[in-house]
Amino acid sequence: MIRSITQQKPMEEIEHLLEGMDRIFVIGCGTCTTLTRTGGVEQVAAMAEDLSARGKVITGTTVVPVACDNLTSDILSEFGARMNQADALLVMSCAYGVQTLASQLGQMVVPAQNTLFIGKENAAGQFNEICTQCGTCVIGETGGICPVTTCHKGLVNGPCGGTNNGKCEIDSNKDCAWTMIYNRLKELDRLDSMRTYKKPRNHLGEPSPGKFLIPEN
């Protein structure tokens, strides 16, 4: 399953973002940040404790099931009063959740996380970015491995000169995408696909910010 992968901001940055706001309501998310252990029940409780120790008043906490869903009425009926007592909502979800809450609740929201990428859990506790949703999918020619995402430079014609022992020039623990693609295509007896020159990519498959409407019949 794909997840929004997040990492908590340094407490100094969170403190800076909360400057002048003494009363805080903390919101976690039961989906992605629970899975990555950045905004689940435990982390929300720890954050509330940490902020208390730093002199903030915690007016309440909750972990909503899916912060990027529209939850206005549910949240407000249960926690509206305590949220209203707060100067800010500190949101421990990804940026989708923060923005959804910001658009629904008329209060200052502060993200506690940096949203890193949309990733896949490949092994317990290990998340990898495998698709950047570029809008012009090339994996039909690369054995199902995306070089746009998996190659640090997003190269589509083969490896750069920085690859070393099958690893990436920026990280000796990261597999070189093009070594993986080569091995895969060789196994599949489809190396001709790698030998074909690929023209420069269309980098604007869907101009940013992306927008999609289901076409009418």
Binding site: H152, K153, G154, L155, V156, N157, G158, P159, C160, G161, G162, T163, N164, N165, G166, E169, I170, W178, T179, I181, Y182, K186, L191, M194, R195, Y197, K198, K199, P200, R201, H203
Partner: protein
């Protein structure tokens, strides 16, 4: 008119190129000194483009300086910092000023340089940049629009014969030639027997190959490259030879080794020439050439 470098490549002579690095800042004295020293000794000088992703005076400006001093510049262009508009614009500017050699490179990651948080571009890759040069030579830009006044370049690219695994590199090498590369510079080669094997394969293509040679300045530097520089493999016997040099004599030994390798490559006609990289010690390039019997 083909460039002087292109003529040298086509003449069948053993071609020698070297490298000059633009300065960190606008004081170009050191680079100008290196250009003066080398311009009449080598067939062309590569001007590096933010080498190792460290921000420097632009390669285009450096290539102009080489031209102004009467040398033959090879403009290095990486795809790291410019998109296809900027790359094409720079190619036109270069051509308009008589810079007619270009070496097309993907470029190191910005994460390896001194501006680690910069936005990397990589709109094109090295083979696509070679193809773009050829498209512009036909009077069209990459979008298919007519150019009022075209360009002409002797265009080259890079290969790493010591890469592991080698096969993906070779596929890319073939694509660069297919895209129109006329010459190929190699990453540093130290193991001549390995390099000969690469040349046995490369000889089937209509492309000139210049063997990259990097001056060894100490045994420690050789070990450092083995550990940290992708695609560079210094054999143990050369490291031992460097280590055995008398105190203060390592550079002299490095010059001797590099000269010896060049002489072997030339005498045995292993490839079409050499590209000498002295990395900060450009003033000894003439000594290397003397040691190789080229001066």
């Amino acid at each position: 008119m083909p460039s002087a470098f292109k003529k040298a490549l086509d003449s069948g002579k053993f071609v020698v190129t070297s490298e000059v690095a633009p300065s960190k800042g606008t004081n170009l004295e050191k680079m100008a000194h290196h250009v003066e020293l080398l311009k009449d000794k080598v067939d062309a000088m590569n001007v590096t483009d933010h080498q190792s992703s460290v921000m420097r005076f632009p390669s285009l400006g450096g290539a102009l300086l080489v031209k102004e001093k009467g040398g033959e510049p090879i403009l290095q262009m990486t795809c790291r910092d410019r998109n296809r508009l900027a790359l094409q614009a720079d190619l036109m500017f270069a051509a308009s000023r008589g810079i007619n050699n270009v070496l097309c490179l993907t470029g190191d990651s910005v994460m390896l340089g001194d501006h680690k948080q910069a936005k990397a571009v990589f709109d094109l890759d090295s083979s696509q940049l070679v193809a773009a040069v050829r498209t512009m030579e036909r009077g069209k830009d990459m979008a298919g629009n007519d150019l009022d006044g075209g360009v002409r370049f002797c265009a080259g690219a890079i290969v790493t014969p010591e890469a592991n695994p080698i096969e993906p590199q070779l596929i890319k090498f073939e694509k660069k030639i297919e895209a129109g590369a006329e010459f190929i510079q190699t990453q540093a080669v130290y193991d001549i027997d390995n390099f000969k094997k690469f040349m046995d394969y490369a000889r089937q293509f209509d492309v000139k190959i210049l063997a990259g040679v990097i001056l060894l300045t100490s045994a420690g530097m050789a070990r450092f490259m083995n550990k940290n520089v992708a695609g560079v493999m210094v054999p143990q016997n050369l490291i031992d030879e460097m280590a055995a040099a008398p105190k203060g004599g390592a550079l002299k030994k490095g010059i001797e080794i590099t000269g010896r390798m060049i002489a072997q490559i030339k005498d045995e006609k292993i490839c079409d020439g050499v590209h000498i990289m002295a990395i900060g010690k450009e003033e000894v390039v003439p000594d290397i050439m003397s040691a190789a019997g080229l001066l």
